[in-house]
Symmetry: C2
Subunit: 258 residues, 2 copies
DNA sequence: TAGTGGTCTAGACCACAGC
DNA sequence: CTGTGGTCTAGACCACTAT
């Protein structure tokens, strides 16, 4: 016997929503705990006396809320609340660069085993909003570094950096491994001491490509951070466009009140 | 004739995804512009030679990406990209408080007509994570101010502030209208000069209640900002928990590189 | 092999919008 | 009234997982 009630066919709220609500409640009250398997579609059809599409509609609602995840051939499972990851905004502090640690390693090293893969360096025409921030002309090119970050083997972030060719071309910045402290340390080596970063944070649903690259389930939004690095002469020397898996990422910023 | 190709039944990517991809491309290249109606489900069934559920599956994919919105009895429409809203992180600067302008008014005044409604002030036991940050004991109470912000009549943000009762009880902070400069100005009046704010930014899908209060469509995530205000003695004097409609909100933070 | 979810078909009735 | 999307039925075949 399933720990679920009946549905009321005369109720104005449609059956699939009633079913979703009951399952949601059982997840909320702990009847179905984190990691547990929900009753199969066949069981739910039988229990409620509805067609399979009706059950699937209910399950889709839960998945879109990020409560469950379906595994082909195994079942539907209550999602684990992933551990909260904090990103201290001082991860770009010079002391870390001087210590030879790139920003991602700073934020990740206390949380798990960090890694980077899919590093690709090219020259290309950046998107319009990036070109504008870099002060490039209409067909201007930039050095483009894209890569993916992982934590304990799980992909957590896609990042693409754009740098002016007159600064980066022919330097270690175009190497797959730019050396200790990352590209920010190299920019300072090249006579561009960094004085400020400006980050723009927003959210949206991921594209299908991002879903694959970040192993996102449906109902999981992403955080977008567009960062620009400004040198001592006020020049924007890098734009970094990142897409972070939304589940559990928490960005921290300290703001002086003066 | 619809501006769409055929699908390849032998392709390993299923028909509904091929259909979704074609529609997504036509939205991206401007064939279906903002506000335009997509072909009806019946037209798409006819064009592609598929069942209705297959078409609906494709349309659901677009909706979940936030690209389209269905209107019962009217059709499926390409969603408008809402105007980008920037929130300068200096919106808490003292010069604004001294000028008598609360933070939301500072960030909103150049963007439209700001308004606040549903202001409710009570005393209650805050959620555990808030209690912890405020340093309250297990059953400790706080002054709770909740309200909703609107821009040009459209709801954009829900906010709830928690303040220690020993600071806020019996002060203008418990008034629906706390006076010029908002509650931060009152905190400073009460001998708590603010020196720092710390914001934690994350994203998730909205609850059903938030969908209603913020008039969110499906496939629209929210930005969550949990902010704490720290006074000159290092005491956390306020926690503000906000939920911002994700569509178009952009938070801006400046980070010194030193 | 049995059970699971993934996709698809070909219908049906309903509620809502617009003419 | 017609056309739209919202919901539902009762099947089908497939791919994946576990045994």
């Amino acid at each position: 016997m399933l720990p679920l009630h009946r549905i009321d066919r005369d109720d104005k709220v449609p059956p699939y929503r009633q079913i979703a609500a009951q399952l949601r409640d059982r997840i909320g009250d702990g009847t179905f705990r984190t990691g547990a398997r929900l009753p199969s579609e066949a069981q739910l059809m039988e229990h409620y006396g509805v067609a399979r599409m009706t059950v699937r509609e209910a399950l889709r609602e839960l998945a879109s809320e990020g409560l469950t995840v379906a595994q082909h051939g195994r079942g539907v499972f209550v999602k684990a609340r992933p551990p909260v990851r904090r990103v201290a905004a001082d991860r770009f502090a010079r002391r870390h660069r001087d210590g030879g640690r790139a920003a991602f390693l700073v934020e990740a090293s206390t949380l798990g085993v960090p890694a980077v893969d899919r590093i690709v360096v090219t020259e290309a025409i950046p998107p319009a909003h990036v070109r504008e921030l870099l002060g490039l002309p209409a067909q201007g090119r930039a050095v483009v570094r894209s890569r993916r970050y992982l934590l304990d083997g799980r992909p957590v972030e896609l990042a693409t950096s754009y740098l002016p060719v007159d600064i980066a071309r022919g330097t270690p910045i175009t190497d797959v491994n730019p050396g200790p402290g990352g590209i920010y340390a190299r920019l300072e080596d090249l006579g561009h001491p960094l004085v400020e970063f400006v980050e723009h944070v927003s959210t949206r649903m991921p594209t299908a490509h991002e879903c694959r690259a970040l192993a996102l389930g449906s109902g999981e939004p992403v955080l977008m951070v567009l960062r620009r690095a400004v040198d001592a002469r006020g020049r924007v020397v890098e734009i970094c466009d990142t897409v972070k898996a939304g589940n559990g990422y928490v960005l921290e910023y300290r703001i002086p009140a003066i």
